[in-house]
């Protein structure tokens, strides 16, 4: 079926309950396209979703999926992939899910470099809980829990990934579905942890990080006149990721020598199939205790 798979095959028959205009629609479409374009099949695909408006994505896509507890999507995805190297694993969640409660897992999942893709639907707000500031919210963003702004510098997810040893670091915009799909596709194809931070506007609770804002401010690394961006160039990547003046769209960094965890640890077997009794040489295990 793979060769004929198209993005609608990855769509479930559940009607999204996202607010009309929510960025998550575009984000999801791009993900479905990327999965289809990379020749995956829903039966061999596993989506792990966090908790949040973003986390509902697992319900609206058609594949094997788990909608876990808040902040723990990455460990689940890592577990699926290590046990089932034959399955395509994609993890998705929100900025709160990934960078607040899940920040520790994020750092360690990046380091581990398991061969999966991680798409964070970054709307710079807690959508599902109705509008509290998130780790990516601006310092002066007024919300129910920050009437005068959170007064903390927002997390720079790309910088965190870079610091944690990321091998594929990208950023997209849900409204530029074409480019977004293309980059997610590269994340899937990357040998290792493919990380994509997607600006996916919340039209209900965030009136500063809007479609207009991103449309007007995002710079595509491929269209930046000043430099020819080479994603393999760590220093160039660093400079742009830490650039205080601009936010970029595109693959900021990709380590061409990336070795995924499964390879360095010699994993490759489908762990779901086991014999009907103890392993053949199991008595050797007993003998060790003589």
């Amino acid at each position: 079926m793979s060769s004929e798979t198209t993005f609608v095959d990855f769509k479930s028959d559940t009607q999204p309950t996202w607010c009309p205009g929510c960025g998550d629609f575009g984000t999801m479409n791009g993900m479905m396209k990327a999965l289809a374009n990379t020749g995956n099949d829903p039966d061999d695909t596993f989506i792990v979703a966090g908790i949040g408006c973003s986390g509902k994505i697992g319900t609206y896509m058609h594949s094997y999926a788990l909608h876990g507890v808040h902040g723990r999507a990455l460990p689940v995805g890592t577990g699926v992939k290590l046990a089932r190297p034959d399955v395509e694993v994609m993890v998705a969640g929100g900025d709160g899910d990934g960078y607040s409660i899940g920040a520790g897992h994020f750092v360690h999942a990046v380091r581990r470099n398991v061969d999966l893709s991680y798409v964070v639907m970054d709307n710079r707000i807690y959508g599902l809980t109705k509008g509290q500031f998130s780790p990516t919210s601006r310092e002066d963003f007024e919300t129910a829990t920050s009437p005068a702004g959170p007064k903390q510098p927002p997390v720079n997810p790309l910088a965190l990934a870079l610091a944690a040893g990321g091998t594929f670091i990208a950023q997209t915009f849900s409204s530029d579905v074409q480019r977004h799909a293309e980059i997610v596709q590269q994340a899937i194809e990357h040998d290792g942890f493919g990380f994509v931070n997607v600006f996916s506007p919340c039209v209900t609770f965030n009136d500063v990080d809007t479609y207009e804002y991103f449309r007007g401010s995002l710079v595509d690394v491929n269209e930046d006149d000043e430099v020819d961006h080479d994603p393999a160039d760590f220093d160039q990547a660093t400079e742009r990721i830490l650039d205080p003046d601009h936010e970029y769209q595109g693959v900021l960094y990709q380590d061409p020598d990336s070795v995924p965890y499964g390879d360095s640890h010699g994993l490759g077997e489908d762990m779901s199939s086991i014999p009907e009794g103890a392993p053949e040489d199991a008595t050797d295990l007993v003998r060790e205790f003589y």
Partner: protein
């Protein structure tokens, strides 16, 4: 003269006590002797003290007693800490060359061995503990070749020279004793003791509970282990690491327990038999995900190797304080199985069973061991671990063809189909047509979120019905011992079994008969109403302060029970337990009353 010999080595943390003790235990096992070890000791002084105790006999031993026949005291404090357990004729090996003067009680036989000096002679001061082992062997007339074998096992991978050095150290220790104390046997005999570690032809294996759990997991086809180091559960991870890979599996050291349990959950959803092990603090952190495992109906084994709580508590001390958490912990209402092996051997068997139950009922299974069980090395006939008898049952996994039987009207797979027995079909990723969503939200048969009141109730009932089904289909019997007609019924769980059994022997000598029920299945569990009714008094023995299982039993049978609780951080010893039970039989203790503070601390 008792046939068992009680031996210990003690010193400061960092003195290599545990590995030295283990070598001696290994040597005894090689000599065809039964061995039962213990690492938890009462400590009356703050910090640092550590010891390893061995009870050995040609018959099976299954508990420690508070008597020491031979003690290797690397420090003065070792003598001080153990002075109550020494008796006239006990032998204390010490190093008179060290700064302290061993103040051994008068009727204890002191054996001064220049440990460091002899070790240096053999090749290095680091071997001084082995010199002491040689000395101990000589005292009990124990053949050095068994010790040699144990030394090879321990040091083999460090090269022949190291092995030889250690053998020489042992030899020098033994020689010193024979030369400096030619009439040692005569002196102990004055007090009625002659120490002889006889050899038999038996061939035992020696292992502890953590190792038995790990071996059980491998036997059961576990392919994925994720964990975060924590005493006393780390050994499970360290056992599996380097072994599970032989079978195509892996061990992941996670960044914390939240990650560990979610990693294992992921692997389980991928279809692997997966597990994690931790201790109390980690169990707390896993509580939220536990609910997800249960509602997503994922088979997962979570081992809790208990230590003294609450909070960080006493990490290297014994307790059975997590039962309430395992039975009732986690918000909301979640079906769960709780299995608690009572011996090292059972650690193996219950682990295999845990994996089968998890897959058969698609639920999380708590496997709960206590520190005493986990770190206690014990000998077994190798046949106890019969790999040929291991059966693997994976439950209702459906393949490409079978998926068709479980589709709804629109061709969608129903992973939470509301079946009669509560168990639904399970399609692993890759199964054609089996795609579905699993979630911790309440869901319908397809796994889609719902707030429909009827569906909600049906799914709650369906999940709970799995427990009812399991109650019917599986054998949840307790392990029963002693005289069914005895007036006194003793109930315990976890590692207390051995101590109770040995206490029963002691009680029998005093003419006290006891019926004993050791409960390995904590949920679902057997109904003990008839047992309690038939007895004149029921005494629940457990290593905690509040009597958690006693409360459970009282609710089950609607009757108050008596309690023996110990929460010093030290396991029960057979002899103290015999005293405590006898006191109940003699009516020296009032039965506990509701809400009262009648809990008795056995120490």
């Amino acid at each position: 003269m008792p046939e068992d010999l009680n031996w210990a080595i003690g010193g400061e943390a960092g003195d290599g006590i545990a590995s030295t003790g283990k070598i001696f235990a290994q040597a005894l096992s090689r000599a065809g002797r039964h061995v039962f070890t213990s690492k938890e000791f009462a400590s009356r002084i703050r910090g640092g003290y550590t010891a390893y105790k061995i009870r050995t006999d040609v018959e099976r031993v299954q508990s420690v007693v508070d008597r020491l026949d031979v003690l290797i005291a690397l420090t003065q404090r070792t003598v001080d800490e153990n002075v109550d357990e020494l008796h006239p004729g006990s032998v204390v090996i010490y190093d008179g060359e060290r700064s302290w003067e061993a103040e051994v009680p008068g009727d204890v036989v002191g054996v001064d061995v220049p440990l460091k000096h002899l070790a240096e002679q053999a090749g290095g001061a680091i071997m001084r503990n082995v010199v002491a082992l040689g000395a101990a062997a000589a005292i009990a007339d124990f053949p050095l070749d068994c010790l040699d074998e144990a030394l090879r096992k321990r040091f083999g991978d460090k090269g022949e020279q190291i092995v030889d050095g250690n053998r020489e150290a042992a030899r020098l220790g033994a020689e010193h004793v024979r030369e400096a104390y030619p009439d040692l046997n005569g002196r102990t005999a004055e007090y009625g003791h002659e120490y002889r570690l006889e050899r038999t032809d038996a061939d035992y294996v020696l292992l502890n509970g953590d190792e038995a759990v790990g071996m059980g997991a491998l036997a059961a086809g576990c392919r994925f282990y994720a964990g975060y180091p924590i005493t006393p559960a780390t050994d499970v991870m360290e056992y599996l690491k380097g072994r599970i890979e032989r079978y195509g599996g892996t061990v992941v050291q996670a960044e914390d327990e939240l990650s560990a349990v979610n990693l294992a959950l992921g692997a389980a959803r991928g279809g692997a038999r997966a597990m994690t092990a931790t201790s109390g603090p980690g169990i707390d952190l896993m509580a939220e995900t536990f609910g997800l495992v249960a509602t997503s109906e994922t088979p997962l084994v979570i081992a809790d190797v208990m230590r003294s709580g609450p909070s960080t508590g006493m990490p290297t001390k014994q307790e059975q304080g997590d039962l309430d958490m395992l039975l009732y912990g986690g918000h909301g209402e979640v079906p769960r199985f709780v299995l608690a092996p009572t011996t090292v051997g059972e650690c193996f068997h219950k682990t295999v069973e845990a994996f089968n139950l998890a897959e058969r009922y698609q639920t999380p299974v708590y496997l709960v061991a206590d520190l005493s069980l986990a770190v206690t090395e014990r000998t077994y006939e190798p046949g106890e671990f019969d790999m040929g008898a291991v059966e693997i049952e994976r439950g209702k996994i459906v393949d490409d063809d079978e998926v068709g039987e479980w589709l709804d009207g629109q061709g969608r797979f129903r992973p939470h189909a509301d079946t009669e027995d509560g168990v639904s079909p399970r399609a692993l990723p890759g199964t054609v047509g089996g795609t579905h969503m699993s979630t911790g939200l309440e869901h319908d048969e397809l796994g889609r979120r719902t707030e429909d009141t009827d569906v909600r109730v049906r799914q709650v009932d369906k999940r709970d019905r799995k427990v009812d089904t399991a109650r019917e289909r599986e054998d949840w019997s307790p392990r029963e011992f002693g005289d069914v007609d005895a007036e006194t019924l003793v109930v315990s769980w976890g590692s207390n079994e051995g101590a109770v059994l040995e206490a029963m022997n002691l009680l029998e000598e005093r003419g006290v008969d006891v019926r004993f029920v050791s409960v390995p299945y904590l949920f679902p569990r057997a109904d003990l109403s008839e047992h309690v009714e038939a007895a004149e008094r029921t005494v629940v023995v457990e290593c905690n302060a509040t009597g958690q299982f006693a409360d459970v039993l009282e609710h089950d049978v609607l009757q108050r029970v008596e309690r023996i609780n110990k929460y010093t951080g030290v396991r029960f010893e057979a002899d103290e337990l015999a005293e405590e039970i006898a006191a109940r039989v003699d009516g020296e203790h009032e039965p506990d009353t509701v809400g009262g503070s009648g809990e008795v601390q056995a120490e």
